[in-house]
Symmetry: C2
């Protein structure tokens, strides 16, 4: 049977091996592997898309692994099949992933109905995110109906994960002092839901943080997003599993409201087109940087712009002209 056939077939050890093989194929940088991976993805695509895609972000130490493990075990108990993927931009530097490490989720990783895959390593954030996005399609074709994509709060990885999921959850810590933990530029606006984890450690701080974030969310209302869903702020304790039920109720309410309004389908279509353009632009920029005339001119012109000797727009025109000739 073909690789695609095994993937869309029955759950079990053979399917699990086929998923791993497929993901390895699409993570490969060899040109012939890439051609095979594209063919495989096109074959799997009609079987994908039936899961709920949940993005989860938070700084290291916020408790993402504990939370995802508790959540995943509870979902499996309810009859779901859960895939956990990761986007870790630092893996492109370290060559290895600090996220999605199987040993971090010991109980979840041994479950038959769970599939955990660490972040792809190497390449740019765009490349890492692309591989995760494609791995998501493979898991969906294999019948995983909940796909969780986790990321750490560094760089632009939150934007990438919010851009590939149906719902984006931001995890926060309640702060001991008066100052609420600073939220990175642009991230709060991506959040469909904010959870304050470890709320039991300092209930007063958690309640204060909840009020502050709720108030901030009200100001930073994203116009198009509020029609059918108003971002919420919840407290929970992943360690004691307190608040997990309320969390899943909120996720389900979101999913129902946005499916009914058509916003979920619209978001996915928008994401697919945006993703296509993101990859095109990355490819164009890469080709540009590797063009011989550009390689020769760019360092000098960039330096002149930096020194204030050449207008930026003039430099851009000269470089574009050099590439065209």
């Amino acid at each position: 049977m073909s690789l695609a056939g095994v993937i869309v077939g029955q759950p079990g050890a053979a399917q699990r091996r086929a998923i791993a093989k497929a993901i390895t194929l699409l993570e490969s940088t060899r040109a012939d592997h890439r051609t095979q991976a594209d063919a495989l993805l096109t074959e799997l695509l009609p079987h994908s898309g039936r899961s709920f895609r949940l993005g989860i972000s938070g700084v290291p130490g916020v408790g993402k692994s504990t939370f995802i493990e508790s959540l995943g075990l509870g979902l499996i108990e309810k009859g779901h099949r859960v895939a956990v993927l990761a986007v870790d931009p630092s893996s492109s530097l370290s060559g290895g992933s600090i996220l999605g490490d199987k040993t971090r989720m010991e109980r979840l990783s041994v479950e038959e109905n769970a599939y955990i895959r660490p972040s792809p390593s190497g390449g740019t954030l765009g490349g890492v995110a692309e591989k995760t996005r494609e791995a998501m399609l493979v898991c969906e074709a294999a019948g995983y109906d909940i796909v969780i994509v986790e990321t750490v709060g560094v760089g632009q990885s939150e934007t990438a994960v919010a851009g590939m999921t149906d719902m984006f959850v931001l995890m926060q810590l309640p702060n001991a002092g008066d100052d609420l933990q600073a939220i990175k530029k642009g991230v709060m606006e991506l959040a469909d839901l904010v959870v304050i984890n470890k709320a039991d450690l300092d209930p007063d701080a958690a309640t204060r943080a909840q009020a502050q974030i709720t108030s901030a969310l009200r100001i930073f209302t994203q116009h198009g997003r509020v029609r059918d869903w108003k971002p919420q702020v919840l407290q929970l304790s992943a360690l004691t599993a307190k608040g997990l039920d309320s969390f899943w109720q909120a996720v389900s309410a979101y999913r129902e409201a946005r499916a009914a309004s058509g916003a979920l389908a619209e978001r996915r279509r928008h994401q697919a087109i945006a993703w296509m353009w993101e990859r095109i632009e990355a490819g164009l920029k890469n080709d540009f940087r590797e063009h011989p005339a550009v390689r020769e001119l760019l360092p000098r012109l960039a330096q002149e712009v930096d020194d204030g000797r050449l207008p930026a727009s003039t430099a851009a025109r000269q470089l574009l002209d050099a590439r065209r000739n």
Copy 2:
């Protein structure tokens, strides 16, 4: 004398005509004009950059014109020369500008030491912003030491204006009700200063809005920006000129703190390089869209991605390959 010579020369009617001629040249779409404009800009560049660049944004009706006129008149009284430019993305649709209209600032426009130019029209936001950015260099070379760039809160124009100025000011209205005026995605984070205009109309609402925005700004701290400047929220009334002095004191404090730390020079260098890449990317994308093979393939592939029949990354690769061959 050359055009550049007149521009960097003595203030007066001849200089004013030369500025207008230079800006008309750089707004032209003719290729030979563009070559002349690039040469002119390169000649003027060493004389530019000595102004303080102030970006001001707010929704229509917030009172930008009244505010800029009062501010400009006060600055001229103190011995400054003030240029007012505009970025109005809607001018690319309407073919004419609703911003920077001379008749809106009747008293300022007749001042010898003021130069008011409406938004360039036509083209994309990137194109409109580029022309304004270049006009700014011309005004600076002519000795205008305060350049105000105004924009309305539509589209991505705030990002463009914040990306070409030393300080970005967001104007808000105090709201009558409990709900604070919603602030568009990503805009608050650009603000170095928020002013609540028309505060005298409803002092209670203004004070409430000030507190709410101050609290939100504390949460959305932009990491790199807080070292030497903490965004402030001020109340003022542009109509009665109440609060204008405090406003200018805050601007001066910002300028001093950021000049001393080197952050101002760093911001300008960063803006120039970012601007070069923005124009390169726009040019690459434009060339891509006009490539014959892409023109033929793009509609069909985009439709297949939209329909969920083709993975976005596969479509991107096919289009990039089509362009390369």
